[in-house]
Symmetry: C2
Subunit: 315 residues, 2 copies
């Protein structure tokens, strides 16, 4: 099942870092973009070609170091049908390199439609007795605004196909509190109510390490809430966005871990993809060595996170 595979890969690589492949064309070295612009008359085909070369180089550079990659669907949808083809090819490439793949789509809808989304990402599409996997990722992020019957189809496919979901609980953005921090009549915040649902929804998907394939998204930018949510959702794996470019530190991200050193994966997207042009790595890497820059950043992030996790274990 997803959560056991994830934990085994984290242990094998001694790294809870997830590399976010959320490419935008201006993240990509200009010599790659130029190459595909010259190759193709179609704008989106050129973009998709450049993104795929960029993605696969990053994957090659870090696949021995990270357990998983996270692909932000919006960044592929914005390049149209060719973008979606690039999304699909990147998933296959990453899986061939032994990585788990999380699609960050924050999908949500009523039951019958959630079933279609789940078929697209976790399950299979069937027609007339034939069944085919579509994008076939290992896990998908989902939005809980519609309640359980919009989540259930994903959970059914998690059971059937050994997949996972991460439910948005407390997101990393600055206005996440407008809804998520609303205080309810029973004294709980909305994010605490959703946390309780995550526990309930994940109860039948607990794996051999005591964690469930129904995880939660809790941003590194809210370390206090993360600390509290860690205690509330004891058996949920927490996907932590907001590290690096969004301002979250390793110490902030560590709030989402348990004392067993497990319980969370920390995503960095821009920090890894754009390492080659960051202040931090200036003078060491350049456009031509963007893969090595990504690798250096992943190692640095891994070590910082492991330091914080070690502190936590010894407390």
């Amino acid at each position: 099942m997803f959560i056991d595979l994830l934990i085994e890969k984290i242990k094998e690589k001694n790294n809870p870092t997830v590399a976010g492949l959320d490419p935008q064309l201006d993240y990509i070295p200009s010599y790659i973009v130029e190459k595909y612009k010259n190759k193709s008359v179609d704008f989106f085909e050129a973009c998709a070609g450049a993104i795929y070369e960029f993605n696969t180089t990053i994957i090659d550079s870090i696949c021995d170091l990270v357990p998983a990659v996270k692909l932000q669907l919006a960044c592929y949808e914005m390049y149209g049908v060719q973008g979606m083809a690039c999304f699909q090819k990147t998933i296959r490439y990453a899986k061939d390199k032994g990585l788990l793949v999380i699609a960050d789509g924050k999908r949500n809808d009523i039951g019958s439609t959630a079933k279609a989304y789940s078929a697209a990402y976790l399950g299979k599409t069937n027609a007339g007795g034939l069944e085919y996997s579509v994008f076939d990722v290992d896990a998908l992020t989902v939005n809980p605004y519609l309640g359980y019957d919009g989540i259930e189809p994903f959970i059914e496919d998690c059971k059937k196909y050994g997949k996972g979901i991460f439910v948005l609980v407390k997101t990393s953005n600055k206005s996440s509190g407008q809804l998520q921090d609303v205080n309810t009549q029973d004294g709980r915040f909305i994010y605490e109510i959703i946390a309780d649902y995550v526990n309930k929804w994940g109860s039948e998907l607990t794996g051999k390490y005591g964690y469930s394939s129904v995880g939660a998204v809790v941003g590194a930018t809210y370390p206090e809430q993360a600390f509290e949510l860690r205690k509330l959702m004891k058996s949920s794996y927490i996907l932590v966005p907001g590290y690096g470019a969004q301002g979250g530190t390793a110490r902030d991200a560590a709030k989402s871990f348990n004392k067993d050193g497990l319980g969370a994966i920390v995503n960095s997207s821009r920090g890894i993809m754009c390492a080659y042009k960051s202040e931090k790595w200036r003078g060491i890497f350049n456009e031509d060595s963007f893969g090595n820059a990504a690798r250096a950043e992943v190692i640095d992030m891994r070590d910082k996170l492991n330091n914080e996790i070690d502190r936590l274990k010894s407390c």
Copy 2:
């Protein structure tokens, strides 16, 4: 701007019905599916071909009667890259027939990612000084769980490109209350808090008829809440799902209209697409006349809605 165009088309056709093109392969007459199965060895290509023929026949049959179609993204994503190509082609076909197109994607993410979603559906994707429309629909449904900074990029594109959004407020599914009906400390339900945000977010997008291009989704399956929300969001157009197959009646849907006869559009998907095999039209239509069946259902729905709207006006 979107909302003015929508109102003008509603007036022109005297019909607030939106036809939902949420195709699943088992909605489609078997002779069409067989034809494409025989034509193509690729499963998804065959599915996309059958869906496109089905969609365009439905559009041809009803384009003089309805102001808009609503395409459920999940139903295209489940057929992979070819499904997304079919989505794109259907959008173009519908626009060529003078219809407004709403993409039902319930998209949501943090600001920088919401910007990518908005580029994909409402705005343009740009790179190196070049700018291209991607799926280029007239309006998109969005999920408010992340608060304003996840909504703002869509609103910016609504202003810039004359587009619209519909924010989920009270959805039609049975468990929508798990989060949306939670009572908060100030005595309001969550859906009322979101309704207030919709008013605020839409305040700069009001058109010449007094309605805003920031609309709301309120299910026909919750007529009492719809009645209350209608009063709370005076200048929002309400997209009403849940009519027909989900149990909502014309009288239920009418709760979302104002006394001016405007203020809402009512979606029916299965009811229209599958009219040819419904109990209601049995013996009158069959597989070969699925387009005529859709047309008959649209006319019936239009008349039922207009009857209720007339009652409302005379109250």
